[in-house]
């Protein structure tokens, strides 16, 4: 396969769709912004694509809880298609609100039949929406999105990014299955204090993947660090070749190129 086709899903309140498309387009991957309306009418449309992205934003205004209403719609109207998509060795990426949504659909961590969801993204411990840049460490490269990446410098902008597991054993399980993909670190790469960990997440978790690695969700915004001028330090340190976030999108595109 040459280049994968990318579907960036839109719905009321989506707002990081164009910069996400910009990242993929920069790498040459044909990218469509598709409104949920079309997928709802024709779920088969999904199968024309190899990469599905749930971009950032405030789907349905975060009413009730961040990502909740969109997650419900995805389960109701596209539940089977999404599972089929994942099982076909395609890639699903959820950024910020997209991560919150993916988690609530159960696509990242399957809900327990008896006890419901295993984990949630709770309101930030600071009690506030925060926009700031964070240092990140790639914990393991299980997810194809993170191949050959060790560290990243990306912005976060959210009010509900505090990753909490229902029980301690769930967290241990995630570690054992290498599903903890991305952690907040301080500028020296060590476990950070606030605001290095901007939301109080357990184990400084910034992103997780599903058991296959092909479904990946993260709170930071890689699509906001594609160009060197987006780096807050470029006026001090000079312009680099590209922004750190581009590597994640390149990995996604290359995953299909290799095949």
């Amino acid at each position: 396969m040459a280049l994968p086709r990318v579907l960036v899903l839109r719905c009321p309140g989506t707002n990081c769709d164009t910069e996400t498309k910009f990242a993929f387009t920069k790498l040459g991957a044909p990218t469509d912004l598709v409104h949920l309306y079309y997928l709802q009418k024709d779920p088969q449309l999904l199968h024309k694509y190899q990469i599905l992205v749930l971009p950032g934003g405030f789907s349905y205004g975060d009413d009730v809880a961040a990502g909740k209403i969109l997650a419900n719609q995805l389960i109701t109207y596209l539940g089977d298609e999404l599972k089929f998509f994942r099982d076909q060795e395609k890639l699903i990426l959820g950024i910020c609100n997209g991560f919150q949504t993916l988690l609530k659909t159960g696509l990242l961590l399957q809900n327990d039949v008896e006890d419901g969801p295993l984990a949630t993204l709770a309101p930030n411990q600071s009690g506030k929406f925060e926009a700031r840049w964070v240092n990140l460490r790639v914990v393991n490269q299980k997810s194809p999105f993170l191949t050959k990446i060790d560290q990243l410098y990306l912005p976060v902008a959210h009010g509900e990014g505090n990753f909490i597991c229902r029980k301690e054993w769930i967290l241990r399980g995630l570690k054992q299955t290498s599903q903890i993909a991305l952690q907040y670190v301080d500028s020296d790469g060590r476990a950070p204090l606030y605001p290095g960990n901007p939301n109080g997440s357990q184990e400084d978790i910034a992103g997780i993947c599903d058991i296959t690695g092909r479904v990946f969700g993260l709170m930071p915004h890689p699509e906001r660090h594609i160009l060197p001028t987006q780096n807050p330090h470029w006026t001090r340190l000079g312009l680099k070749n590209e922004g750190d976030g581009l590597a994640i999108f390149r990995n996604a595109v290359d995953f299909f190129r290799k095949d």
Partner: protein, 1015 residues
């Protein structure tokens, strides 16, 4: 049937913590935590719900079982049950059991566990009757409720109505006096919320009566003068006697009386808010400077000053004119690239923010974003700016007049309102300022601005006769009725009650959806004109679009939020998130399809005609026929008196106080509210969304230094950029509003030039916020400011492209009158060809040279130095219209040539504050050893050198190898080498006598700067 779903936090109860802190702050006590035991929130759901469906709703939609526990109760209508606490409780238990038994395991699993329910029951036993419910008043927009109805539909569950609530359990020991504080000051805002301090009943759900049509005619022709005034006041029309008389004569000529809707339409259109009648009216102006009087009759102040400057600048530019549309549309438009123009507009939303800060600021931003969407054929919003003026957060509570909210509450509400709207709609908030002065106590100022990207050749719009009048977006409700006329009046201690209807709450997601539709429809060429529904609602939007044509409007077509609105309410409602488009008949279908895809409601309200009449119908009945010429040109010109007298100079102030050390003054300045870090606000705003951020509001090594301006790359991957900056300093108004205006313009330009703007390509906006302009002295100060705007704009070659005024910012009660200082905000927008040439303000490396550009003078009046030392000077800073443009040009050249490592403009706090900010932002020290070389005049002492706020000055960090070239560029301009950067993290400034005047570590400087508003 109504069900109540209550959700209580399982872990930290942060909303309880927040209100308890607020209580403790207000009462200066620590009792808050003892009085409010816990908090919860929840939903009242009305519809044919069964225990099963309610269970599905709770499990699949409403509850996050990791964070909350749910309790579900049916709400009864029967009064007997309500009157007995026991029976009410029994019945809720009964239904609860029913719910359990019907759904057995399912509900068991998902509502956490059964012991939780027991726990909640036992808690109810303690506190069941000791709680406050806070609900939005009926008719106030509740976006969450709308979302839940839609989401339930996804789950195949029909809910007819939802209300959200917050609940606070309190201790039975609460004293009545404290209870009053909770109820009146903390838990709710009376303008939009109600408190019910007992279990909620079905009767609390007000049933709105359906509307039955009745045409109302106002017998205007027979009224005498007293009755005319009474008619205006009773109808909340805000029209004066002369205007009422003109309307009366008009209808006498027509030989009929007006209907209520006709009168309302005229009142909305003629309001100060919509017609700017003072600034566009005639002014009889007298200026007395040092005893010498000069009289002038000004026909139209805006035309004679602000517009005139732009006309002259554009003429001088000739073929090089880069303005596209000025003072003609919702926003000013200038050229940007070959494919795109830029639109820019700043609005105020002061009155609503005084009454309901969150909703006021929220809808203020929503409104200016719609202005941009409605500019030309629709521009794409790329950035927001916000500037606020507040009283001190530490203003003593006991001195706050009745009907006025505490500044702290206003500040928090306004910041949250801007945050929630901007973040949700996905437009970065990149630039702003916050000014503190206690005269903003009752009239806080909230300026919201938006810049947009408009494809070239899209600046003109013209509806055609026959085009349909199409409304996109939110439904019409009773919210915001009389906003335009309300905001044209003074506030007083009863405004809070009177203006309930004037308060609006926004829904950013609705607006985002509309924006998505409009930009797609624009590119498909589906409409011929567009404007937003702002003040005056449909009446203003359709009235404006049809001004040259005519229109037939069918108001019964409007989609309503709830029943019961009469035709006039529909016509003038300022319900948010609505845009009016003129759509050729053959494009309507395509537009409807697009709206369906994007989940946007669309209505067809009628069509444009050629009749020059505005014909209004409600069903088959004609309810109004308004002559558009009379509507737009019939308003009698008002003549106002204005007088300005320069203040007497008294040179015998007692300056013999022992002055504190310069380093103490510097630290005091850094803690000044207007200078101190605004990080706690900026971090809550998403300034990265859309990916265009090139220079962020917080810069430097630790991303916490104060950037002079924001730089954006609106077309990702292209080198062209946009710089946004602003200037505001109302303190100078007290000395000379003319000099103040000049300084505001200079500051806005300085900010943009310091980052790399071309001074010949900066456009500016004016926002005048003044007191009661019926007072000739207040209006006189405004005239003086406007005249200065004219002179400075021309001298700098900086055209005004749009503006706005908000007058009558005065508070009046029986005992006091508080007028705001004359406040002029200048907002600057500057396109640049290459973003990689810009510089930031943080120092970069040790061993670089520090230069100062511009003259420092002995002009300390109005300075922050005077504010913190309590000294008083007479001479306020003056801009030098000859040298300033040349200094700006030299800075621009030096930045373009890559000679400058960092650049910061000098403003509040002067040289000392500017160098401190550069140093701690970069974490690089400074030794300033050549203070005596400072260019300027009358520099009698080092305090003047350090703290004077003379305009048009910059600090530059320059590598030693570039020093000669900079000096060459500044050959005949004021420039001096005054120090160098060091790796030691401290700021040292030596006085003219060679002694160290200031020796402070960077961490101490920064911690003082960050102390007042910690993040």
């Amino acid at each position: 049937m109504i069900w109540e779903v209550e959700l209580q936090p399982l872990g930290r109860d942060s909303s309880r913590e927040k209100i308890c802190d607020e209580f403790d702050l207000i009462t200066k006590s620590t009792r808050g935590g003892d009085q409010i035991i816990s908090s919860s929130h929840g939903y009242l759901l009305r519809g044919a719900l069964t225990p099963h469906t309610i269970n599905v709703l709770v499990n699949q939609l409403l509850l996050d079982p990791l964070l909350e526990k749910a309790t579900v109760r049916p709400i009864h209508s029967s009064v007997e049950k309500e009157s007995s606490k026991e029976s009410s409780k029994e019945s809720s238990e009964e239904s609860w059991n029913q719910l359990q038994s019907t759904n057995g395991n399912v509900s068991h699993n998902h509502f956490s566990s059964s012991d939780l329910i027991t726990e909640s029951k036992s808690q109810e036993k303690i506190s069941q009757n000791y709680y406050f419910n806070v609900l939005l008043k009926p008719g106030v927009m509740d976006p969450v409720a709308q979302s839940i109805i839609a989401a339930a539909k996804d789950l195949k569950i029909e809910i007819s109505d939802v209300r959200t609530f917050r609940r606070y359990y309190y201790s039975p020991e609460m004293k009545e006096r404290d209870r009053q504080i909770w109820v009146n000051k903390i838990l709710a805002n009376d303008a939009i919320e109600q408190i019910i301090d007992r279990p909620i009943r079905e009767q609390d759900w007000s049933n709105i009566k359906p509307y039955s049509f009745q045409k109302i005619v106002v017998p205007l022709r027979e009224l005498n003068d007293t009755q005319l005034i009474e008619c205006s006041q009773k109808g909340f029309l805000a029209l004066n006697l002369e205007e009422m008389r003109v309307i009366q004569q008009h209808y006498q000529k027509l030989e009929r009386d007006p209907s209520d809707i006709e009168l309302e339409t005229i009142a909305q259109t003629w309001s100060e808010h919509c017609s700017h009648k003072t600034l566009k009216g005639a002014i009889d102006y007298e200026e007395i400077i040092d005893g010498k009087s000069k009289r002038e009759y000004i026909n139209n102040l805006l035309k004679a000053t602000i517009f005139q400057a732009t006309v002259q600048i554009r003429q001088e530019l000739g073929a090089e004119d880069w303005c596209v549309s000025v003072f003609a549309d919702n926003a000013g438009i200038i050229r940007f690239t070959e494919e795109y123009d830029l639109a820019f507009k700043v609005e105020t939303h002061n009155h609503p923010s005084a009454i309901e800060p969150y909703g006021g600021a929220n809808t203020g931003l929503g409104g200016v974003i719609r202005d941009i969407l409605g500019t030309g054929l629709g521009a794409r919003p790329i950035a927001n700016t916000d500037v606020f003026c507040f009283a001190s957060p530490e203003f003593p509570d006991e001195q706050i007049p009745a009907g006025v909210l505490q500044p702290r509450r206003i500040i928090q509400g306004v910041v949250a309102g801007v945050r929630d709207y901007g973040n949700r709609i996905g437009i970065p908030t990149v630039n702003g300022a916050v000014i503190f002065d206690d005269r903003y106590l009752a009239n806080p100022l909230v300026f919201c601005g938006t810049a947009g990207l408009l494809p070239v050749h899209h600046a003109q719009k013209s509806p055609e006769p026959g085009d349909r009048i199409i409304v996109l977006g939110g439904r019409t409700g009773r919210d915001g009725i009389h906003g335009a006329t309300f905001s044209s009046l003074e506030l007083n201690d009863t405004s809070e009650q009177l203006s309930g209807g004037a308060v609006q709450i926004g829904n950013a997601i609705t607006e985002k959806k509309i924006a998505d539709v409009i930009l797609r429809a624009r590119d498909l060429k589906l409409f011929t004109a567009i404007t937003d529904c702002g003040a005056g609602g449909f009446s203003s939007a359709i009235g404006e679009l049809s001004a040259e044509l005519g229109a037939e409007v069918q108001l019964a077509q409007a989609l309503l939020k709830y029943e019961g609105l009469n035709y006039t309410e529909i016509w003038i409602s300022e319900a948010q998130e609505r845009m009016v488009l003129s759509v050729p008949l053959d494009k309507v279908g395509q537009l409807r399809q697009l709206c369906e895809q994007e989940n946007v409601e669309v209505i067809d309200l009628g069509y444009f005609t050629n009749s020059k009449l505005l014909n209004l119908y409600y069903g088959p009945e004609q309810i109004g026929e308004i002559d558009l010429k009379f509507l737009h040109d019939g308003r009698p010109a008002i003549v106002r008196q204005a007088r300005y007298e320069s203040p007497q100079k008294s040179n015998n102030h007692d300056q013999s106080l022992t002055l504190p050390e310069p380093s103490t003054i510097l630290l005091d300045l850094l803690r000044c509210p207007s200078i101190a870090s605004k990080e706690w606000i900026i971090r809550q705003y998403d300034h990265e969304v859309q990916g265009g951020s090139v220079l962020k509001p917080l810069v430097g090594k630790h991303e916490d230094g104060p950037s002079d301006a924001a730089v954006l790359m609106p077309i990702l991957g292209r080198s062209e950029g946009v710089i946004l900056g602003n200037g505001i300093n109302p303190r100078y108004s007290d000395f000379d509003p003319g000099a103040m205006a000049a300084l505001a313009i200079d500051e806005a330009i300085r900010n943009t030039v310091a980052t790399g703007a071309n001074p010949q390509r900066i456009a500016i906006l004016d926002n005048f916020c003044w007191g009661n302009v019926q007072d000739p002295l207040v209006l006189g100060s405004l005239v003086r400011a406007a005249k200065a705007c004219h002179d400075v704009a021309i001298a700098y070659g900086t055209p005004f492209i749009s503006g706005k005024d908000s007058l009558n910012n005065e508070f009046r009660s029986a005992t006091q009158r508080i007028s705001i200082p004359g406040t002029l905000l200048i907002s600057a927008i500057a396109p640049i060809p290459d973003v990689t040439k810009i510089v930031s303000m943080d120092l970069k490396e040790p061993e670089n040279l520090i230069f100062i550009a511009g003259n420092t003078k002995n002009e300390l009046a109005g300075s922050h130095y005077d504010l913190v030392t309590k000294l008083y000077h007479d001479e306020i800073p003056q801009v030098d219209l000859k040298s300033a443009p040349r200094i700006f040009q030299a800075i621009y050249q030096s930045i373009q040539k890559g000679l400058i490592r960092s650049c910061h403009d000098l403003s509040e706090g002067g040289l000392a504050v500017a160098i401190a900010e550069m140093a701690f932002a970069g974490d690089i020290g400074v030794d300033m050893t050549h203070l005596s070389k400072l260019p300027g005049s009358d520099l009698h002492n080092d305090h003047i050198r350090l703290f004077s706020e003379s305009p048009t000055r910059f600090l530059l960090e320059v590598a030693p190898s570039h020093a000669a070239e900079i000096e060459k560029i500044f050959a005949d301009l004021p420039l001096a080498k005054i120090g160098h950067t060091t790796k030691e993290p401290r700021l040292r400034i030596a006085g003219s006598d060679g002694q160290w005047l200031i020796w402070v570590s960077l961490s101490e400087l920064k911690s003082n700067w960050q102390k007042l508003f910690p993040w």
